[in-house]
Amino acid sequence: MIRNYLISSWRALLRNRLEAVINIVGLAAGISAAILIYLYVSSENSYDTHHKDGDRIYRINSVLELDGQVDRVARNSLRSVVELHEDYPEIQDYCRVFDIGKQSIWYGSKMFSERNICFADSSYFTFFTYDFISGDEHCLDEPMQIAISEEVAVKYFGDAESAIGKQLKFTLKAYQVSAVFKSSEKETHIPYTFIISMSSLNRGFYQQAMGDYFRMMCFDYIKLAPGAEVAQLESKLDTFYNKRIGPWIEQNQVNGHLSYSLQPLSDIHLNNSWNYDYSGNGNAQYLQIFSIIGIFLLVVAAINYMNLSTARSSKRAREIGARMVAGASRPQLIFQFYAEAFINVLLALLLAIGLVEMLFPVFNGLTDKHFGYRELIQPEVLSGLAFLVVCMTLISGSYPAFYLSSVRPIEALKMQGNRNAHLSGWKKWFGPANLRRSLVVLQFSIAAGLIVSTLVVYGQLEYMRNKDLGFNQEGVVAITVPGDSSTQGRLKTLRDELMKQPGVKGVASTSSIPGGQFGKLYFVVTLNGQRTNKLLGFSFIDDEFIPLMNMKLEGRNFDRARTSDSLSSFIINEACARFLGWEDPIGNILENGFGMRGRIIGVVKDFHYASLHNPIEPMVFMHQPNNASNLLVRLESENVANSYDQVMNKWKELVPNHPQESYFLEDFIRKNYIKEGKMLQVFGYFTVLAVLISCLGLLGLASFSTEQRTKEIGIRKVLGASAGNIVMRLTGEFLLLVILASLLALPVTAWFLKRWLEGFAYALDMSFVPFVLSAMSAVVIAALTVSLLAWRAALSNPVKALRYE
């Protein structure tokens, strides 16, 4: 019997090629998009699930409260976790990871500027699971030891095997390679490729840091003892505060509070609600959005199948009637429809797998992943695909299976040619024509929703890219200045030499690059006669910085000639003045955490130092012309590329023994919006796909409808209807459905988009324009799709049409 079903299904497929192509290609497109999204989502959800004992590892995040100012940070002090380990037997072990940012590293004549470097406790490799090529998990037990990744070993030493024992030189110290580990094939939030033993840290620095609970410099991880309950431990942390931190706060006269929150290891990648966390972390919200899009695409594709199947139902009625008369029972007919749906879904799946293979390079580029065929043959993916086939078969085959098989044989035999006329009562309401209409509305609601979302995401991205940041970033090159004393000591010479280069308009120095992150520091201010601590953003700049960046300043700028400006002067931004409640801040006294006390000499108009995801924060500038980690060089707008080459050639000449690192400020700022840019691309691709699949379905329905109405078209033409009249008649119903779909989708989408925009500190004002545009484009696309067939039918010879019937 199954053979009989398969034969008739296969032959039906061949006989109705257009419908088969629409069904299978549409389904394949939907499934391939869903597979890609599934791979991405499961990869993002798999972060740090591979570490041995990973379910017992937590990161300690801190909530600092200082004079009512709350800061939630992913980092902690060097000190606290050591004491927590002493106080609580529930904590089996701890590991502190101190990220030291960008460093220059030398080996022989090779030199590179590197990131992903940290100091870590010797327990590092018992917390995070890596395979070793050489060395073992005790590789950080001794001072001056460094463990490196395989790629780093090959980069510096040519191969991984000979790396052990060799010295990598940093600016101040050299470390001996004690282990080479394989980069994890599994996903992890830990980015480090250079791990230096914590015992190598400068003793003085270490001792000083160990004396402070508020110096948030490390990522602190703890491993719970087997059987220990995290909730129980969290409930005891108040006791720790009272016993350890409280007395310290009192002793150091800090008006603040500190509490801890334990975050599971596998939760870190997607939960990026903590400040100063790893920048490469994922975004749970985007993951949800992509998952929804994946489901939408599958639904849209499944709708095509259901729609075309029900449309074909009247054409197939004779077959069903004949089968019933020949003795087919209802379960047998249901089984037959499911078998047909199964064949379609299976063919679509095979095509989808081919599509996915083809799309991997593009998708990997978009998502920074390395997906390949290996991911597709993972047991969980294969079982997922099997589940998908079952679900899609059930979804797409259910309506034809249950509706058509429920019709009595005599109804089935009478059904030919007419749609709902033979039906009465509930069957008419839930009959195939109304179901098709509802599904088209649902399909185009999704398409219209995705179109408007793409437009709004694009609008927001453009808004962020083009918003006036309060400074001029165009034509500014940032050069990283090595931290060694010989380079820092020549800062003035370097600046003067660069100024002499043709095409250079100005040179300034700063400790933090606009558009990036800036440090925060405690300041003491006297407000209402009371000394209070405030955590404020800060940057060390020289006197050229403010004019070079075209910032607007009230009061006066720093003056290199006045030595007092480096010792006792501050410039703040308007947000800082507002935050401190100063209406006329110039002349007011400020004291920083380093003990420097001075007056406010100027107020800079608010500007966006950080990305537009964050509100403008209070910021303090301090004058430090002889010490800088970055130089900013403004180039003339003419011949920028040429000027840039000349500047960098000169820099190489001036600082030959350090790796060069430079970039345009505009590019640097644009990187802040990479996630949104990629989301836009993904949205764009999937929107186009959803619209295409929907149109494919509409094309199928229009083809069916035109075929059904051939006789009507003939009669109308004989009675004098013009081609335009016929086209209007044929397309009108579909267009009404698409308009209805837009009307239903847009308010719902507007609500979701409003919520998404609320996540930005600075967002565009959502206008009705993208909504009107999206509704119009949905209608125009649908009209074009349907009218293609309608025109063909309208221009056909009416006699032919009548003879056809």
């Binding site: 019997m1 009989n4 032959r11």
Partner: protein, 235 residues
């Protein structure tokens, strides 16, 4: 074999109610060949569908082989239908995607007969109706007469107690129509009970008895020369 007592059938739509059969009573004996005649819309096909259990009566009693079947649900009707009744339609109702062989085989599949047994029966019936040379052809590749011959094959392959034919010659030219009538006559002679709806007086005369319908009622019944008997007029 078939006894109908006061059978009525009403079709309702939102606006109108149509009385298709009005208290019809009739009997068909085993081995009989009965033709049903009447103008369009008189209820001929409705009556045939009720007899064939493709539809259920609104009221009245229907005894099939001595069993009351008027209260049967679709499931029970389908069970009885596939075991006992063969259908031949005006529009053939063959499945376009299946070959001649597969179309004829279909009822046997639903009876869960083994493949070898099915093959034997289908080949037998195809030989008998001279369509075996077309076994691998699809319905669209056949003439109307050949298609109807396939439909007849499909109807008789289960060796039904009753063959119901709804205007079996309506879509055929006279030569092919004659051929189909010859087949039905032959089947009847071999013992099958045949009930046929037709517009053709000539074809009706091939039956043993003709039942005339008008407005959903039996208005007269006559025995033809094939069943030597005196003519009866009922009202």
């Amino acid at each position: 074999m078939i006894t109908l007592q006061s059978i009525s059938k009403v079709y309702r739509t939102e606006d109108i109610e149509t009385l298709a059969l009005n208290e019809i009573s009739m009997e068909v004996k085993k081995g009989e060949f009965v033709a049903i005649m009447g103008p369009s819309g008189c209820g001929k096909s409705t009556l045939l569908n009720l007899i064939g259990m493709l539809d259920s009566p609104g009221s009245g009693s229907y005894l099939f082989d001595g069993k009351e079947v008027s209260g049967y649900g679709e499931k029970e009707r389908a069970k009885l239908r596939k075991a006992s009744i063969g259908f031949v339609f005006q529009s053939f109702n063959l499945i376009d995607e299946l070959t001649v062989f597969e179309n004829i085989e279909l009822p046997l599949i639903y009876m869960r007969m083994s493949a070898s047994e099915r093959r034997q029966k289908v080949e037998e019936v195809m030989q008998r109706l001279h369509i075996a040379h077309r076994a691998k052809h699809f319905p669209q590749q056949l003439s109307g007469g050949q298609q109807q011959r396939v439909a007849v094959c499909r109807a008789i392959v289960i060796e039904p107690k009753l063959i119901l034919a709804d205007e079996p010659t309506g879509n055929l030219d006279s030569r092919n129509g004659e051929e189909v009538m010859r087949l039905l006559g032959q089947l009847n002679e071999e013992g099958a009970t045949v009930v046929m709806v037709t517009h053709s007086q000539e074809h009706a005369l091939r039956a043993q008895r003709i039942v005339h319908l008008l407005d959903g009622q039996v208005i007269s019944e006559e025995f033809t020369s094939n069943f030597p008997s005196q003519k009866l007029t009922l009202g």
